[in-house]
């Protein structure tokens, strides 16, 4: 709670800075507009006022974005193709499906890597190395490949979302499943616990903090994956498709509104997982 005042101050400063930046960046554009309309008798205040309310500004002012959000989120019916709720719904669905598959796959592979020693020594370096590769470059190709199999619609995007969320989850979970210290593992051995028992009674509970941390990263990555996939295959809608359409037609206000919706979506996903994590870890008496 101590950070409420600083946070509001910074946010207000940011909004003020935004207005100044918007006025300055749009002024030359607006001067041209006035010149084209044959107006020369405008004052500086007129110029500033007009630059903050342009139809296609270089940088839209915050109130324009808020108005656009209000129009596209609340006033447009969510079934309309112009509604951002409609597109956010598409993106959210792809993200969630992809994230669930990616998380299941990632956790499964992490369990396999921790239990099978050969796999750890041979596959783990590749998985770690793959973290340094811009995986997103594969997105357009996955879309095309799946298209060859007549798999269209939501699936390619969910696959890319799953693919992007899968790697960080695997790496995080391997770390988590290995987090019990040797003493605890030795204790399990003195109980003559099977490796399955060690996994369910010691490794899995111990990995929970890592589980929630990697789920947060995985969910954010899945959303990025879904949005980028929508850019490369934009005919079925989604927030990425709106971004692309906005950039084609120079609809800057719409791009910014879409970005804010995407940010809210990401924040909500990560926030929900974080909250679930905090509650679970507190009940299990982890230091949080």
């Amino acid at each position: 709670m101590k950070s409420v005042l600083p946070l509001t101050t910074i946010l207000l400063a940011l909004v003020a800075f935004w207005y100044v930046a918007a006025a300055m960046m749009n002024a030359s554009l607006q001067r041209d507009v006035f010149a084209n309309a044959g107006r020369t008798d405008y004052s500086t205040l007129d110029l500033i006022g007009a630059s903050l309310n342009m139809e296609r500004p270089k940088l839209p002012a915050p109130h324009q974005i808020v108005a656009e959000l209000d129009k596209l989120v609340f006033e447009t019916p969510p079934t309309s193709k112009r509604s951002l709720v409609f597109h956010a719904g598409i993106t959210l669905e792809e993200t969630l499906i992809g994230f669930l598959f990616g998380a299941a796959l990632g956790v499964g592979l992490a369990v396999a890597i921790v239990s099978v020693r050969v796999l750890e020594r041979s596959a783990m370096p590749w998985i770690v190395a793959s973290q340094t590769v811009p995986i997103i470059a594969l997105a357009p190709m996955i879309v095309v490949i799946l298209n060859q199999f007549d798999i269209g619609g939501m699936t390619p995007k969910a696959v890319i979302a799953a693919y992007l969320s899968f790697f960080p989850i695997t790496v995080g979970m391997v770390k988590g499943l290995r987090s019990p210290d040797p003493l605890q593992l030795d204790l399990m051995r003195t109980y003559s616990a099977t490796s399955g028992q060690t996994l369910s009674k010691l490794r899995a509970p111990a990995s929970l903090p890592f589980f929630f941390a990697s789920m947060k990263i995985g969910a954010a990555a899945a959303l990025v994956g879904a949005i980028v996939a929508e850019v490369t295959k934009s005919e079925d809608g989604g927030l990425g498709a709106r971004l692309l359409a906005g950039s084609y037609y120079g609809q800057t206000v719409q791009i910014w509104a879409t970005l804010f919706v995407a940010a809210a979506l990401s924040g909500a996903l990560v926030g929900i997982i974080g909250l679930a994590g905090r509650l679970t870890l507190r009940r299990m008496a982890f230091p949080t």
Binding site: V144, I227, T232, L244, I255
Partner: protein, 256 residues
Amino acid sequence: MNSRALSDLAPPLVFGVILLAFWEAAVRLGGVPPIILPAPSAIGLRLFTSVPTLAADFLQTIRGVLAGYVIGCASGLLVAILIDRSPFLQRGLLPLGNLVSALPIVGVAPIMVMWFGFDWQSKAAVVVIMTFFPMLVNAAAGLSSAGAMERDLMRTYAADYWQTLMKLRLPAALPFVFNALKINTTLAMIGAIVAEFFGTPTVGMGFRISTEVGHLSIDMVWATIVVAAITGSAFYAIVAMIERRATFWHASYRAR
């Protein structure tokens, strides 16, 4: 190369070779059309015959990556040092930085393309935004990582703020700074490549991928991906090597 390094390296190498052999066999024996999945040998051949194109793409993309990476990381570090003296600014900026790190920032790519044009400058701008916040958050955490004992010692030396910063707190922050530098290598590559999906002059790795996918020459796409993968790994490896030299005193390296 000593035998220890060899035995560490052998299993992943064998695994990689087996994977490639399996891929090649599956494509040849299974009759997979090259439009869906070209054989590794076909990709290798394409890689070899298209060196000029791939080199031009590489140079175009890496310019945006490096320019953005340097500016983004440097300004992130600088802002972290600037806000370090003000707990008020820290409490305001750091939660914001954490929040922004989780956002799909690549989405600003179309806006940056509008502002800075199709060439590498717009890609660098996307990379600046993507790399700034991880560096800010990590560097701020690093600057507060020096222990109370060490700070007290600096005070007994009558060291002023700048001396404490240069001799104690910045060195103590280095592991955190390098952590951000490593995370940012990947983010920089992603930012530049995705930004190229939104418009480029007709060169660049992201451009190559999106157009060659359109022409269904999937082997060229794979060749570009191989270049991107090698670039990304090499970028990471170079930063990791510098880290090893610069933070040799840190516990994670001392143990070996």
